[in-house]
């Protein structure tokens, strides 16, 4: 595919930006709009844009691992988040406060769960797009 310089430069920034914003959404999701699902969708849109611009191979390269592996790892993380406290009921949340001197970071199992969701959504959506894009490519070459 012939690429344009405008697309090239925009995309380079856009992918990084989407990654950062999606992570921001993931973190703020605990008590404000956002969370693993919308964060994951945004992260997947970085993959989608790359795929549309440069084809499925570029999307795969950006993703590095296979989409199905993302789904599996995300599911494992989410289940782990529920099992963290084995003697309590499933999905009981626990929180840890890390103090870094200048600020305090609250970490908890809901965040781990959300991270799992984030990865699953990223995997599911990009597997759709990559699969469809590959089929389209095969059809185009067939014609």
């Amino acid at each position: 595919m012939k690429s344009s310089p405008i697309l090239d430069i925009t995309l380079r920034w856009l992918v990084v930006l989407l990654g950062i914003v999606s992570f921001f959404l993931l973190l703020r999701g605990h008590d404000e709009p956002g969370g693993g699902f919308s964060g994951g969708l945004l992260a997947a849109s970085a993959i989608i844009i790359t795929t549309i611009a440069y084809g499925a191979d570029a999307g795969r390269k950006l993703l590095h691992f296979q989409p199905l592996s993302y789904i599996a790892v995300g599911l494992i993380l989410s289940v782990l988040a529920g099992l963290f406290q084995w003697d309590a009921v499933f999905m009981s949340s626990i929180w840890v406060e890390l103090s870094l001197g200048f600020t305090i970071i609250k970490l908890g199992t809901p965040l781990l769960f959300d991270l799992g969701v984030y990865i699953v959504v990223l995997g599911v959506v990009s597997s759709f797009v990559l699969e469809i894009e590959s089929i389209v490519k095969i059809k185009k070459e067939g014609l």
Binding site: S69, V79, W86, A88, F90
Partner: protein
């Protein structure tokens, strides 16, 4: 011990996940799958022993109390359903490990089966009607993928009919949920039960009854009941035989399970018409058995029989005495096993004779009498012969109709039993007894002989259910008592608030 209730959901989820990770290593994946289902089966036994001890187990997921949190509840009915589901999935997976058909090798097969199992367990254990809907969706998605696994045209055709109708039924379910939630402000089944009993007492039952009817329509589509059954025979014969066996064991039974919960817990009292349910049950019974009589394709015959057997269960639910509910529960267990086994035997036989159309089959009895005997055990059990499981199941249903003096229902039940025998004998004569139309056909079992193991296991369970019918039926009777008096369930979920 409250984590015991989450295990039937977590174990399939974890085995499915690791199955996905191991998708490029077929052997590793199979061992993961087999280990997962074995653990699940063990949990099923532990669960039922605990429930026999304590009547009800509850868990409030995440520690949020009912009716606001998500509740998992196991009464005897749930525990029995989990156990039988575990048994059939175990045998089907064993069978598929020993098959050389493509589905045994597809990397998606094992994870999908475990996702299906997770959906079914969730449906059996949840105490929250919205989660019931979610579990239906999990099952629908995984079963759709399972059905189209080999990508044949006829599979896609069957799957489209299946999915469109089931999505429609889910939409109806969701509409009912919205209506109910707007009216009563709760999704916890025990809580809804309290409110709807109050509504019956106050004679303000209108909107709740409307929601109940929407649920009823949706569940009867899922269960394959009379006016809504047509998706079932259009799709069940298309996937590979292990998948058919799995579907016949799990999908419709979850629909029936939901119907039991609806009729005894969510909408107790006369919110749902008893006569409506009874008539639909009888119609389902008869239509199914007539449909089967007209078919000349092994698995199509069996699919129609699923429908007619559902009719028996619905009659049991409609009568709603402890005896009738107990016989419905026993019938579900018996049907999961015998029907599943018939599908597996049919798959094995058609692999050997090379066709599922009856006029192209034959000669199996001379070549493989063991398989013939296993077929006869399952078929006679389905038709209701002593000393097999079907006899206990059908006898108790008929006894329940006699007790309630519903003579026409009794007549229909016995008539259906006779016609079931007719179709079963049709398969017997065509597939096993007569000679194969092609005399040069090689009918040796070869590597297929390993697959006799899972089908013999199921045949053993059928005999066990028949011979141990008395004590096992007592357990079902206890389950029936629990269902007729939802007060215990409600108290177990909501605590002392009520």
């Amino acid at each position: 011990m409250s984590n015991l209730l989450t295990l039937p959901l977590l174990v399939p989820l974890i085995s499915a996940t690791f199955g996905i990770l191991a998708r490029q290593h077929a052997n590793v994946q199979r061992w993961i799958s087999l280990a997962g289902i074995s653990v699940y089966l063990a949990i099923g036994f532990i669960l039922i022993s605990h429930v026999l001890d304590q009547s009800y187990l509850t868990a409030q997921v995440g520690g949020w109390q009912a009716p606001y949190g998500i509740t998992l509840v196991a009464d005897l009915l749930s525990a029995i359903m989990i156990l039988f589901t575990g048994l059939i999935v175990f045998s089907v997976l064993l069978y598929s490990l020993m098959t050389s058909k493509p589905c045994g090798f597809s990397p998606a097969f094992h994870p999908l089966v475990h996702f299906l199992l997770m959906g079914a367990s969730g449906a059996f254990l949840t105490g929250d009607i919205f989660n019931l809907y979610v579990c239906f969706e999990i099952m629908l998605m995984s079963s759709f993928a399972l059905m189209t696994l080999e990508g044949k045209a006829e599979q896609t055709e069957g799957a489209v009919k299946y999915v469109v109708l089931n999505l429609l039924s889910s939409a109806i379910f969701l509409a009912g949920l919205g209506l109910l939630y707007a009216k009563v402000g709760s999704l916890n089944m025990a809580d809804i039960s309290v409110i709807s009993q109050q509504a019956v007492a106050d004679e303000k039952v209108g909107p709740i009854r409307l929601a109940g009817l929407l649920f009823f329509v949706s569940f009867s589509v899922k269960a394959g009941m009379f006016p809504f059954f047509f998706w079932l025979p259009a799709s069940y014969h298309t996937p590979s035989p292990p998948v058919s066996a799995l579907f016949s064991g799990i999908l419709t039974k979850v629909g029936v399970y939901a119907l039991i919960r609806l009729h005894t817990l969510v909408m107790p009292g006369e919110v749902l018409g008893y006569k409506l349910l009874l008539t639909m049950g009888v119609a389902t019974m008869l239509i199914g058995v007539f449909g089967a009589a007209s078919q000349m394709h092994i698995r199509r015959i069996l699919s129609f029989h699923i429908i007619s057997q559902i009719g028996y269960i619905v009659v049991g639910i409609a009568i709603k005495t402890p005896l009738a509910l107990a016989s419905a529960i026993f019938f579900i267990g018996h049907n999961i096993i015998s029907k599943g086994n018939l599908f597996l035997v049919a798959g094995l036989a058609s692999d050997i004779v090379g066709s599922e159309k009856l006029h192209k089959t034959g000669g199996m009895w001379k070549a493989w009498p063991q398989l013939g005997i296993i077929y006869l055990i399952s078929a006679f059990s389905l038709a209701g012969f002593p000393p097999l499981s079907g006899f206990v199941a059908k006898f108790s249903i008929v006894w329940a109709t006699v007790e309630s003096q519903l003579w026409w229902v009794m007549a229909a039940a016995i008539f259906t039993g006779l016609f079931t025998l007719y179709s079963m004998m049709k398969i017997w004569v065509e597939v096993f007894w007569k000679d194969h139309p092609d005399p040069d056909r090689d009918l040796t079992l070869g590597k297929n002989s390993r697959r006799l193991m899972p089908v013999s296991l199921l045949a053993g369970i059928i005999i066990f259910l028949g011979l141990g019918g008395g004590p096992l039926f007592d357990i079902c009777l206890r389950a029936g008592e629990q269902l007729v008096n939802p007060a215990g369930y409600i108290q177990a979920v909501l605590g002392e608030i009520t």
